[in-house]
Symmetry: C2
């Protein structure tokens, strides 16, 4: 099975799942952000897409909201009303926003989601504080959730924070690693980084949702693993889109990750199979024809196929957990739709 | 009573209290830092003074360690062994280090404690991540503490995080506020900022210590207030040292806060009494004679006396809580020594 052979779940279903989650979570998210000092509060509203950088209200919110949806569905999956997981959903969305704001500073990225990044719009110093505010608010929102299992939920969230930083540090280190030889990035190292950077927070979203919904700790651990498999699949798809995605849809330049010389999974897998590629990859170019040839060589060396298969395998592992954990049937169907959506997306 | 009239507690006592705390906390702090990725881990070791920026081991640790000591003494104050509070002591010290690393980025400060700041030594991007790592580790260390009251302790810590960011945002805003008129910073606004920026974490150190030691929630709330009074007193003394401190002892340039045009408490109080001072303060100068004259005018307008009295009053409020809360006698004596030390210090 390859990505293109998988049946995608109905687009309307997933749109409704995400919209339903947003209707429940957004008011609580706005209440949380309202507790911030006006300075960091404005940056938070900007990063969530509620306002422009000058404060003008803006119609559409940013982002897909998959982490809050995963938290809510995980509560329903253990038989609880989705409302029980709202503080957890808000917390993971705040952590996600924190990580975007700070990562954009570290990576020097000036644009995200077709808009300026926070540091570009407000300055680096304020953006550091804006990210800190989102993280502080995340921890405080979950701490205030109350209930018997908030402590266990906090442990999942805080462990994810430590992993998130670890993954970001590892990703940064990859930049200075050689393209081949004994110090080159291995597929295993890449996957560990991706699980830290993307899987840990998705895992904690699912585990926190299950725990706030009153689910037993071992089921929360299974939900955590589900999220981690989804995170790795999500990152693999991100890497595919970074080379072969449609710029019109992704909002990123064509071949963006090749231009930046990023050591993504297709590259790591391709150079393992064809070490000679390393020399071509090390010479960074902005020429589109050269980048197209390079993308073709990465594909010929198996980098695209390997990444595609890994994403499918990780999705299957996630679906296997959904199907074997005795979850509520309707919630399991929605979790399946959400999981497929994360992997079968175009942007 | 003024600061100079107060009897200082024995220097040897406080040195022993802090050294005893350090012996208990440092191994746990080092174990926590060892969990970080080597990149952020190196920055953490540098910021705690264990190594130089090139990794060379360094004899003396940085900082006085008053927050961890306050956490340990608060556990003893409720009749528990100090060891119970070690995870809390580590957590508050990590939060303190996080705030220094990020504040130095925001303020553009290049030196701290006679050394380069983290961003100056490692770069801004890495320092953002280094601060994030310290904060993530702080939350995770407390979350792992176990015990019945860890959730309540986490609430104190997370509320302090939100307040800390609020205080830093407010302090930043003060810079762009006018020196006089209806939008000038008031004494009340200054005190609220200082409680947020300094008092909240000292308050959570005391409350977390008391809760991990098994103390009841209302006593933890009292300990939190104790820390908040100390924080405001501490900040007031910091402001006095920033103008009238001995540069040899503080490690900062003479009249450093006047040079930087900071709206500290002596200035805010002096301009309230003598609005004409504002014009002189707005003209920033590096000329030492001019700065000396300005410091004299601030003193003549009552800025120094007001700040001195406020510090003494806040210390008295803290001591009052120590003396009326039914605390363990020996711990109360050490808490008294620690409180006096925070106010009667020269650096």
């Amino acid at each position: 099975m390859t990505l293109s052979m998988c049946h995608s779940h109905g687009t309307e279903d997933i749109a409704e799942i995400l919209a339903h989650s947003r209707r429940l979570v957004d008011p609580a998210l706005q209440n949380a952000v309202a507790r911030l000092h006006p300075g960091p509060g404005r940056m938070a509203a900007f990063t969530f897409g509620w306002v422009e950088s000058d404060g003008t209200p803006r119609g559409a919110a940013n982002g897909k909201g998959v982490r809050p949806a995963l938290a809510l569905l995980s509560a329903r999956a253990v038989g609880a009303p989705v409302e029980t997981a709202v503080p957890g959903a808000v917390a993971v969305e705040l952590v996600h926003a924190f990580s975007l704001v700070h990562d954009d500073i570290m990576d020097g990225d000036e644009r995200r989601r077709h808009r300026e990044t926070v540091w570009k719009a407000y300055g680096i110093g304020p953006a550091v504080l804006g990210g800190d505010a989102l993280l502080a608010l995340a921890v405080d929102t979950l701490a205030r959730a109350g209930g018997a299992q908030t402590g266990a939920a906090m442990l999942h969230l805080s462990a994810a924070l430590v992993e998130l930083v670890h993954g970001q540090a590892e990703d940064t280190d990859f930049e200075s690693r050689p393209w081949n030889g004994p110090d080159a990035v291995t597929v295993e190292q890449y996957c560990a980084m991706a699980v830290g950077k993307t899987g840990s927070l998705l895992g904690s979203a699912a585990a926190v949702g299950a725990l706030l919904g009153g689910g037993p700790p071992d089921l929360a651990d299974r939900m955590s693993r589900l999220g981690r498999h989804l995170g790795l699949a999500f990152q693999a798809v991100d890497d595919l889109l970074g080379i072969w995605g449609d710029p019109e849809v992704t909002g990123k330049p064509v071949f963006s990750d090749l231009r930046r010389g990023k050591k993504t999974l297709p590259i790591v897998a391709a150079t393992r199979a064809a070490p000679g590629l390393s020399e071509l990859l090390a010479v960074r170019s902005d020429d589109e024809a050269a980048l197209r040839r390079l993308a073709g060589l990465v594909e010929d060396a198996g980098g695209r196929g390997f990444t595609d298969e890994l994403a499918v395998r990780e999705l299957e592992r996630a679906l296997d957990i959904i199907n074997t954990s005795g979850l509520d049937g309707a919630a399991a169907r929605d979790l399946t739709a959400l999981s497929r959506f994360l992997v079968h997306r175009a942007s």
